[in-house]
Amino acid sequence: AQSVTQLDSHVSVSEGTPVLLRCNYSSSYSPSLFWYVQHPNKGLQLLLKYTTGATLVKSINGFEAEFKKSETSFHLTKPSAHMSDAAEYFCVVSGRGSTLGRLYFGRGTQLTVWP
């Protein structure tokens, strides 16, 4: 079975300081992992993904996530937070086999960025 646990429901940082959003996963397969972002009153958008190959993946706006199999983690980081990063972030693992197509969402982490 597939599942994800987002370890923090809320994270607050000051603008210009690093961001760390934590995610642990459980999967009976070699997982595909994703981070989605949801800005207020908007739909979710794919931020970055890991499927195979390079374990460090990056988004176009400076976020990174590293797949660590030994730790079953896929934490999201950014060296310097910007006000526009304030949003809710969802860690996601995809299903395989009989659950192909299903996405298993974490409960989300609300990121607040203070000026």
Binding site: S32, F34, N41, K42, G43, L44, Q45, L46, K49, T51, F90, V92, S94, G95, R96, L100, G101, R102, L103, F105, G106, R107, G108
Partner: protein
């Protein structure tokens, strides 16, 4: 600019009324998903389709919810009769390849049932 379009964006109705939400997926996408988002439950998968055929609707209350794709450009989610516990934001998402994990979400339909 390709995007998933959902209507209505907001709906307030009374308990017992029928509600229909519509979704236009991105042209060429052959998978469509319906999710429901609430503070208490987070994101819940209700149903999903590939090439207009339902693959899984186990997340839906069968007695009151139904989801269909009359054609490739339209997906519908119907609730009859609606109940206050159905109040939520309903999202439609479409994808090009089943299992890719890359979904494009609409902006949601916010339903309030009084």
């Amino acid at each position: 600019d390709a995007r998933v379009t959902q209507t209505p964006r907001h709906k307030v109705t009374e308990m017992g009324q029928e509600v229909t939400m519509r979704c236009q997926p991105i042209l060429g996408h052959n998978t469509v998903f319906w999710y429901r988002q609430t503070m208490m439950q987070g994101l819940e998968l209700l149903a999903y389709f590939r090439n207009r055929a339902p693959l899984d609707d186990s997340g839906m209350p069968k007695d009151r919810f139904s989801a269909e794709m009359p054609d490739a450009t339209l997906a519908t989610l119907k609730i009859q009769p609606s109940e206050p516990r159905d109040s939520a934001v309903y999202f439609c998402a479409s994808g090009l390849v089943l299992g890719s994990g890359e979904l494009f979400f609409g902006e949601g339909s916010r339903l309030t049932v009084l």
